[in-house]
């Protein structure tokens, strides 16, 4: 078949009736500073890993809040924990702790989203 550069978009509907917020709640409880994230993207702009691989710290926030744990797990492993994001964060969020908390707890809450 001729490749026109178009692909089929995968169904990405999120069923909030089946939303699993356990990981999110645990992270917010252990690191309350994460509540004030305004998704400015400063963290992503400065990230050392971004230069080497497709990685987006801000997207981590989105995935976590949507409960997309499978995707989140593969994303979070890319972080090198260098701490640049923490220094540029305008809200002073302890991003490294958020990452470590997710890394620690994600095997517990991993669910397959459809």
């Amino acid at each position: 078949m001729k490749d026109f550069g178009f692909t089929m978009i995968k169904q990405r509907t999120i069923d909030y009736d089946q939303f699993d917020g356990r990981l999110l709640n645990e992270v917010l409880e252990m690191e309350p500073s994460f509540k004030v994230c305004l998704s400015c993207g400063g963290c992503t702009a400065t990230c050392s890993a971004v230069d080497l691989v497709s990685f987006n710290v801000r997207r981590m926030n989105l995935l976590l809040r949507r409960g997309e744990t499978v995707e989140l797990e593969s994303e979070i492993k890319k972080c090198m924990l260098c701490g640049k994001c923490m220094l540029v964060c305008p809200r002073g969020i302890n991003i490294r702790n958020v990452i470590m908390l997710i890394k620690k707890s994600i095997p517990k809450y991993k669910t397959v989203t459809l």
Partner: protein, 611 residues
């Protein structure tokens, strides 16, 4: 030989603690790696053992490090430890001398005045009896100080002290009772049998005139024996386990055994060697941010009690101030990192995306320059370094100008050892492929890991402060001393972490005026920005930073100099004074001189033109 039933509690207690210590130390030593075991076997009959004996004498008995901290506190510890040690030794010599035999059981020496009722006759007996009396008075002076310390610890230079557990309380009470009871028992016996010496005899006479000494003698000797037993039995569950274990630690340390990246017998020995003196509480800057339960002494206590939480384990800056203050010389930072490795080993990353492309470096390259992630957030440092390289005509390869992975130290600090190894392997390959023989690093965090955990044969790793000093000494940099008052802040990873205190000061001294401050070098403050702490909040970091800044500001410097991009960034945020990296200051001085030369040259040219 005559005996008395009161010797039994003491003898059983002594037997119990001896067996317990032999068993537990054997378990710990068998938990060491093969290399460490062979280290012990090969060092046991060498000079290292003599050095260990000397250290045991200086630290475990004389408590030299505590003397340096505070004289009264040092005297208290010395009188109890050294006094008790001498009392046991002299007591045994006394018993050997009296019974003319070396196989006298321990209780005969400990309860000598009870069993030997006749007064000392020969000169040697009299001298030994007087020695025992004086030693007892020496120890009692320490016990009195210990009572007083509970009322007012500030006199002893201690602001904060640890809370005692039940086991500690029992052992402490026993320790407080042992010597007064012995003194009373000996005095009462002296009052009855007139067998005392210079101190116990007069005390005995006074007591016999006031009290019914005959009915007191037995209860006092029983009480003394029971106090000793209580101390022996409560030792394993109390902080006083440090007394015997510290000796083992000193020997193993002298044999070259160090903390590993995993928990082993040696780390257990370190944990049990903590005396919970609380000296680390006073040096910890976390208290400036009202964080008072995560200090080393508490973490070691929780490790021992097996109830350490991540919240406490990770809430530490790993600045190393407690480590340089610890009178036992525990490797507190490494111990905490090992614990972190254990706690996070289930979830390390593999960084499969790291791919090494060909490294294209010109063969004339003298130096590999690695700025580090943090330095990329302080571009002034990178700019200064580039300019200095140009001035000194150094051919360099800027390794992490773009697309380079982190050095691995931040991962190492939070215990992600396996993950860090991946980054280390990746960077190592690139560095070795470059064929240069010098690596200059601008960030002390990277510097420490390059130095300690990378295998870079034939490559010298230097922090830029060392490198710039070298350039200056080799006259490759112009000199210009600016009229600038500078306070130099020692970064933790460069100072206490890598032992580099003098090079930055020597360098700075050539370009500006360095003012010495109270807390510098080994006791230097942490800026509060440390990456090792993943639990601390930004406002708490700021409090720690402000406390440190307050001291620096009291010296009214024009500039706060540092050699770490993270310290610079942390201090600069306060907006209280200009903060510059050492490279920036050097470049500023060079630039000033160049500008001056240019103006002078222009003037000369003008003069020549008008002539």
């Amino acid at each position: 030989m005559e005996t008395n039933p009161f010797i039994w509690p003491f003898t059983i207690g002594l037997l119990f603690i001896s067996c317990f210590l032999i068993i537990i130390v054997s378990i710990w030593i068998s938990g060491l790696s093969h290399i460490d075991k062979s280290r012990i076997v090969h060092s046991i009959f060498t000079r290292k053992s003599l050095l260990a004996i000397r250290e045991t004498f200086m630290e475990s008995l004389l408590h030299r490090k505590i003397f340096r901290k505070n004289l009264v506190l040092g005297y208290m510890h010395m009188s109890l430890a050294f006094g008790w040690f001498l009392l046991i030794v002299v007591g045994h010599i006394q018993a050997w001398n009296y019974y003319r035999s070396l196989s006298v059981p321990a209780y005969k020496a400990i309860f000598f005045r009870y069993f030997v009722t006749e007064p000392a006759t020969t000169l040697s007996e009299k001298t030994l009896a007087a020695c025992v009396d004086l030693l007892l008075v020496f120890i009692l002076s320490g016990v009195m100080l210990a009572y007083f310390k509970r009322l007012n610890s500030r006199v002893f230079g201690i602001k904060k002290t640890t809370k005692l557990k039940a086991g500690d309380r029992i052992a402490l009470t026993a320790l407080w009772l042992i010597f007064p009871l012995r003194f009373l028992a000996e005095s009462v016996s002296a009052g009855i049998h007139h067998n005392g010496s210079i101190v116990s005899q007069p005390t005995g006479q006074i007591l016999s005139s006031l009290l019914p000494v005959h009915s007191l003698e037995m209860p006092l000797w029983w009480a003394y024996s029971l106090a000793l037993t209580l101390f022996f039995v409560s030792l394993p569950v109390s902080r006083y386990m440090h007394i015997p274990v510290e000796v083992v630690l000193i020997f193993l340390r002298n044999y070259g055994i160090r903390i590993k990246k995993r928990i082993d017998g040696y780390s257990r020995i370190q944990v049990y060697s903590c005396s919970r003196c609380g000296i680390c509480l006073d040096s910890c800057q976390m208290t400036h941010a009202e964080i008072k339960d995560t200090q080393s002494v508490y973490v070691l206590k929780h490790i021992r009690n097996k109830n350490l939480t991540d919240e406490k384990l990770f809430n530490c800056l790993l600045c190393g101030r407690c480590q340089s203050d610890c009178p036992v010389g525990l490797s507190l930072n490494d111990l905490r990192i090992t614990q972190r490795i254990e706690s996070t080993k289930e979830y390390n990353s593999s960084y499969e995306y790291l791919k090494n492309g060909p490294v294209e470096v010109s063969p004339q390259t003298e130096v590999i320059y690695f700025a580090g992630c943090m330095t990329h957030l302080t571009p002034a440092i990178i700019k200064s370094m580039k300019e200095i390289f140009a001035v000194a005509r150094v051919k360099y390869w800027f390794m992490d100008e773009d697309k380079t992975s982190c050095c691995g130290r931040p991962l190492m600090q939070v215990g992600q050892y396996e993950a860090a190894k991946k980054l280390i392997g990746h960077n190592q390959e690139r560095i070795l492929a470059s064929k240069a023989n010098k690596l200059v690093v601008s960030c002390p965090i990277c510097f420490k890991v390059f130095n300690e955990d990378y295998a870079l044969p034939g490559i010298t790793v230097q922090h830029h402060s060392e490198y710039l000093l070298e350039l200056m000494v080799n006259k490759r940099l112009p000199m210009n001393k600016m009229p600038l008052r500078v306070v130099y802040h020692d970064p933790c990873e460069l100072g206490r972490g890598s032992g580099i205190y003098h090079q930055p000061r020597l360098l700075l001294d050539e370009y500006a005026e360095v003012i010495p401050v109270k807390n510098e070098k080994e006791t230097a403050f942490c800026c509060g920005g440390s990456l090792a702490n993943i639990k601390i909040q930004m406002n708490e970091r700021n409090q720690i930073r402000d406390e440190a800044l307050e001291e620096y500001l009291s010296y009214r410097p024009d500039v706060l100099a540092t050699a770490c991009p993270l310290c610079k960034k942390t201090f600069a945020k306060s907006n209280k004074l200009p903060v510059h990296d050492i490279a920036e200051i050097v470049y500023m001085a060079i630039q000033e001189k160049q500008n001056l030369q240019k103006t002078e040259y222009k003037k000369e040219m003008k003069m020549e033109f008008w002539k």
